[in-house]
Amino acid sequence: MSSDYEISDDDENYYDYDEDMIDGTQDEEEEDGDMYMDTYGDDFKVAPKNKRKPYEIEYESLSQAAVEKLMQEDVEHICGIFGVDGSTAALLLRHMSWNKERLIEKYMDNPSKVLVDAGVTVKEPSSPSAPVRSHSSSNSNSNANNGRRPTRSTSKLIGLASGSKSPKIPTVSPPALRPSKPTRPTPFVCPICFDDSPDLKPLSLDCEHSFCSGCWTAYVSSKINDEAEHCIRCMAEGCALVTPDPFIRALLLVEPTEPVGEPSLQKENVATWARFQELLVRHFVASNPNLKYCPYPSCTNTVSCPGAASKASLATVVPIVSCGRRGFGITEEMSQSQPVGMGLAAKEHKFCFGCPIESDHRPVVCNVAKMWLKKCRDDSETANWIKSNTKECPQCQSTIEKNGGCNHMTCKKCKHDFCWVCMGPWAEHGTAWYSCNRFDEKGSVEARDAQSRSRASLERYLHYYNRWANHEQSAKLSVELYTKTEKKMEDMQITSALTWIEVQFMKKAVEEVEKCRTTLKWTYAMAYYLARGNEKELFEDNQRDLEKAVEDLSELLEQPIEAENIPTLRQKVTDKTVYVQKRNDIVLEDTAMGFLEGRWKWNVAVEGFDEPEKVEF
């Protein structure tokens, strides 16, 4: 056992982790798991007890149920104020994109108009009995009555045969297809599927446009699954009434008392209902700037991060968050009950709250990261080719490829005559046809200067780009490294007395390397845009130190394992990992502080920052 080795005390996390680990082997399995969760979680989870690092942002991860609870709170709030039932309040809030203040204001102003606009009640025809709507009359008796009409309580699945309804203000002219109402006894024919079997169940909203339950279900499913639409209007042409949630629920989820339909169909309907719930949550999240939906496939978590909700805040913070889940397509139970073992391949759902980049782009802020990615997409390949194959015309700076012929060039665009070798004007070559031995001519020196300036900017870009791409490539290869490492960990257990939990230092090291490579990658994007000066030099010093440390650790991890070396290897790797972690912290912390202090100056205009004083690379 390697109890003799020491780790520097200044990294408490790692120290604790390792000590616990050794203890853990003697204790029950459960404790291992707990300890594991703790040490792994503390980097990102914002449990209030943990100290937040300056480069981390405060956020909270919410499950779908938690977001639904938030929605429910808003709905209840509105219910309390307006005296309407829950599903009406929900429709009103969705109509106003969950802006409670605006809804309250509008509703107080003219309740019936809001109810009609939100598709809760049918529009009343402008009959003489209806009062002319105006601000002064909005509190009049009749209007208030209309506004408070408990529409939703009556709207639960009204069949045509469900008895006569209280006399009602006539609705929008129903389409001619509908069977006329007075002749109620005539058998119901669904105007959509033309089915007329007597056991057909006609359903309608308050507008009394009746259709059979089968068509309703098919329609609602089509809207939810094909169009991802949560606001589902009545099927009648031009009818603006929106189906409330209880209506959709009743269509999709069969009550236990009712005869159960085809099992496969029923399962599909349950899935549709779940999808509907998800659409509602997504709409709520999209309406709230403090929330963002996890972009990972089939993940339904939401992150709340009020600190990065405004655009202005994105100039000082890099809001990298994690929804708390790991891996792809695994269910909640799995990802939470199995933190051990699957850890290597199951990556955390980390994303940026402030921009669409679905990975960690610390330390650089969103706008700069975006600029860089765009530049890379546009320029990289082209720039490489241009650099190796062309020169610019000394007069008009058009890019020219010389694909044969002599050195006397005539620019196609500006007709300038120049020498390909010295770039000077051809006229100065006098009689020295087709050969250039002139170097110090004033014209050619100037031309070459301009040329080299333009080359230099390309070279400069490629310098940063190649390093960026290199780290990206290495980070991509980390999957391979993971599998290799896992194999090594197994070997170690076989060839030495180390237990499974004791070889975890390898895994920790690999994870750290990948994390740091991501940081390094983005430091090159940052450095490309940083204005020259002391600050940039300090930044590059930190970058260099981190890069060196990461490369050293990577090399260690690639080394073959021999039984007698294992204790020393473990010692080395553990030390290096701690060191790398520290260097990474330094880079991220210093950059984050720099943003807060407004220390970083750019060489180009960046949204949210002051204009650069002068462009200097």
């Binding site: 105007p191 959509i192 599927c193 033309f194 089915d195 098919a218 329609y219 089509s222 042409e237």
Partner: protein, 223 residues
């Protein structure tokens, strides 16, 4: 029976029984989900007297998703693509309702011919022609109805006269241009097809003629 099939069969049968609307729906092949609809051009419009055929495809989730329709017959109309027959109409997109039928949709197409919406065009060139010179547009639409939809052609003294009863199709009239204008630029040595193409693109019609200098046209022709 499949609800979609039952509904489509019923719709086809209803249409056959209805003698008053003049709307016809026929099978193209064995499939009841790929049909051909046809209706007469509405009276009092440039489409009067023509018969317009529409390609109908019934999607899997019909009637909960809209039916796909496009004109087979070429139509000169701002909301119908003069090249592909694609139709710009709200009920074929987001305003679709499952209570709409093939027949009612075809009737809507018929009424679209009565009331063009040049501000929401499918075919921008045709829409420009419509807004620049309504009478010239009408002449072209009548000519298209005559040659593509079997219409009677220009009636009375109306129209350019020169196109009346001409057998080989008149490319100038199809493009809705003035013969004199085309000949003017042809005289400069450009090919007729090229001239027609450019003038149509520039909308060289009505009051626009004064706005476009000859140089501008020649510049386009030289491109």
């Amino acid at each position: 029976m499949d609800a979609r099939l039952r509904r489509v069969n019923k719709e086809i049968a209803d249409c056959k029984n209805d003698k008053t609307s003049n709307i016809k729906i026929d099978l193209i092949d064995d499939s009841p989900f790929h049909l051909k609809g046809s209706f007469p051009g509405p009276e009092g419009t440039p489409y009067q007297g023509g018969t317009f055929e529409v390609d109908i495809v019934i999607p899997e989730s019909y009637p909960f998703q809209p039916v796909k329709m496009k004109f087979i017959t070429k139509v000169y109309h701002p909301n119908i693509s003069s090249a592909s027959g694609a139709i710009c109409l709200d009920i074929l997109k987001d305003a679709w309702s499952p209570v709409l039928t093939l027949k009612s949709t075809l009737i809507s197409l018929q009424s679209l011919l009565c009331s063009p919406e040049p501000n929401d065009p499918q075919d921008a060139e045709v829409a420009k022609h419509y807004t620049t010179s309504k009478s010239s547009f009408d002449d072209t639409a009548v000519y298209w109805t005559q040659i593509y939809a079997g219409g009677p052609g220009p009636q009375g003294k109306k129209g350019k006269g020169t196109t009346m009863g001409k057998e080989p199709r008149d490319e100038i009239a199809i493009a809705g241009l003035e013969r004199a204008h085309v000949e003017q630029f042809e005289a400069l040595g450009f090919e007729r097809s090229k001239v027609i193409d450019v003038l149509r693109r520039l909308n060289y019609r009505g009051p626009n003629v004064a706005k476009l200098s000859e140089d501008r046209v020649v510049e386009e022709l030289l491109k």
